[in-house]
């Protein structure tokens, strides 16, 4: 085969792989929606996974959220001071954190922590034939492993994001309070003054979408892992990279849609 013929073969093979991958991801997601409403419901496993996702991420979310609040306040203050508008600081922080930073920071942390852990766990179960063992015992591994994890991330991440936003606002308050004496109640009142119901609803919807994305991507990459132990690392890595990429795309789309909704 000529060098061009070989390159053409590689290109067509890669295109084939790409479209097969898209089709498989679509089928996997469609199967989730088919199975999620079907009996039996493994509530205990959902609760286990919910605590696995939620509780074990709490410390990291608290620390990151608190620091984001402090840093964002520290960096915003000089610009507002130039315009003599430091009294707008709580409102500015409120908008930034509740609408954008809280959900996004939570999603990115969970994509790294939860997504990689789901990807690696399912991939290692796949390569050590534990998933096959479930199947031959007449247990639906998709329902037990995938559905429970995706439901858990979809429910846990919005709660974590709300918590992250409050901790960030508290971090911001601590910084504001260090510079000028102000009460926490008035700080929170000012922070929420410019926040509408649509902003809160958008933030919650966003985090539900992020949670679903993190869960389904982690499960998809782990469940379909190949190549032995090398595949475990690859699945964990791809779960994080793909989930983060999709989260940014979803962020743009949801913000655009919510901006359109403002005109109605």
């Amino acid at each position: 085969m000529s060098i061009f013929g070989n390159k053409k073969y590689i290109l067509t093979r890669r295109l084939d792989d790409y479209f097969i991958g898209v089709h498989n991801a679509y089928t996997f997601t469609a199967r989730f929606f088919k199975e999620v409403f079907r009996k039996p419901f493994h509530w205990r496993e959902v609760v286990n996974q919910f605590f696995e996702v939620g509780l074990k991420s709490l410390a990291l979310i608290s620390l990151t959220g608190f620091i984001v609040g402090i840093v964002f306040t520290k960096q915003s203050r000089p610009s507002l001071e130039d315009f003599g508008a430091t009294s707008w600081l709580p409102s500015l922080i409120g908008i930034a954190i509740i609408k954008a930073l809280g959900p996004l920071v939570t999603a990115l942390i969970c994509a790294g922590k939860v997504g990689s852990s789901i990807g690696a766990e399912l991939a290692s179960m796949r390569v050590t034939e534990q998933i096959d063992a479930m199947e031959v015992s007449a247990i639906n591994p998709f329902k037990y492993l995938v559905v429970s994890r995706v439901v858990a991330t979809t429910l846990a991440i919005p709660i974590l994001a709300l918590y992250c936003s409050f901790v960030s606002l508290y971090g911001s308050y601590v910084n504001v309070h260090a510079e000028e004496t102000s009460s926490m109640v008035s700080f929170y009142q000012n922070a929420f003054k410019t926040i509408s119901f649509l902003d809160i609803a958008t933030a919650v919807i966003k985090t539900v979408v992020y949670g679903f994305t993190i869960g389904i991507v982690g499960c998809y990459k782990g469940y379909n892992a190949t190549q032995g132990t090398r595949g475990v690392g690859k699945a964990a890595n791809q779960a994080v990279v793909l989930a983060m990429f999709l989260i940014f795309i979803e962020e743009v789309i949801i913000v655009q849609i919510s901006n359109w909704l403002r005109y109605f």
Binding site: E129, Q130, E135, S137, I139
Partner: protein, 258 residues
């Protein structure tokens, strides 16, 4: 090592019947026309080198892989045509012991054994589950390992627990994938004894996939010698290896030297 006992083999009742089975992965043709019958109460050992398609064969029997061509009838049902609940019902009648045991490493021994039971029979009480777990653990000789994690067990113990996990569902057919691979000769002999005890105690019919002649000789009522996706010869151990065929002699001698 306990000698293979002469079990009552009912040649009137076929539990697995395979005709003209073909299976490929991309361009690699793994099974090239397998014909095979397993009778009730019989143990058949499928011997062959690694990569000849032995494990693929039992994965097709249990419905983990789909055949490209051919008919696989297990307990009177064509596996490839079964889906959902019908396939699950058939799988409950088949036990599959994996090469690396495939124990759930997040669960302890009790949870590993109770899991298939509680997932399939949700109305069982905790007491009934514990009784069933203790019963199978006793039959594999590991009653004291109830609370241990799989990572704390030796290779032989993991194999035993893997077998116990399949026995808890009281299967009619047992499929063993390389039951003695990676084990020392003494532990291998214990596993061979266990396979024979299982056949006797649970009255199962079994397919034992192995490349170990000792295991095949001591567990199989019949031996099926597989070579490059086909059965070269089927019969008793002596019938298969009392031959001038170079490939069979080569396999026998290699195992003997080992």
């Amino acid at each position: 090592m306990e000698k293979l006992k002469q079990h009552i083999i009912d040649k009137e009742e076929t539990v697995i019947s395979i005709t003209g089975l073909y299976k490929s992965f991309d361009e690699l043709e793994v099974l090239k026309g397998i014909d095979f019958t397993l009778f009730k109460g019989e143990n058949i050992a499928v011997l062959g080198k690694s990569g000849t398609g032995k494990s693929v064969l039992i994965k097709i029997i249990v419905g983990l892989l789909k055949p490209d061509r051919g008919e696989v009838i297990v307990l009177g049902q064509e596996v490839a045509k079964l889906k959902g609940k019908a396939l699950d019902a058939l799988r409950l009648r088949i036990g599959f012991s994996f090469q690396n045991s495939a124990l759930y490493d997040g669960m302890n021994v009790y949870q590993n054994l109770a899991f298939p039971l509680t997932m399939n029979f949700q109305n069982l009480t905790k007491k009934q589950v514990l009784y069933a777990v203790e019963e199978v653990l006793e039959s594999v000789g590991l009653k004291d390992k109830l609370k241990q994690m799989p990572s704390d067990l030796s290779g032989g113990q993991r194999k035993r627990i893997g077998i116990a996990r399949t026995l808890i569902l009281k299967p009619e057919i047992m499929l063993y994938d390389e039951p003695t691979s990676g084990l020392d000769p003494i532990t291998s002999a214990e596993i061979i004894d266990l396979i024979n005890e299982v056949q006797e105690q649970y009255n199962t019919s079994s397919v034992i996939i192995t490349h170990d002649l000792t295991c095949a000789k001591n567990t199989g009522n019949r031996i099926a010698m597989m070579f490059e996706g086909k059965f070269l010869k089927t019969g008793t151990f002596n019938e298969v290896f009392d031959t001038d065929d170079e490939q069979l002699k080569g396999f026998y001698n290699y195992n003997f030297i080992q």
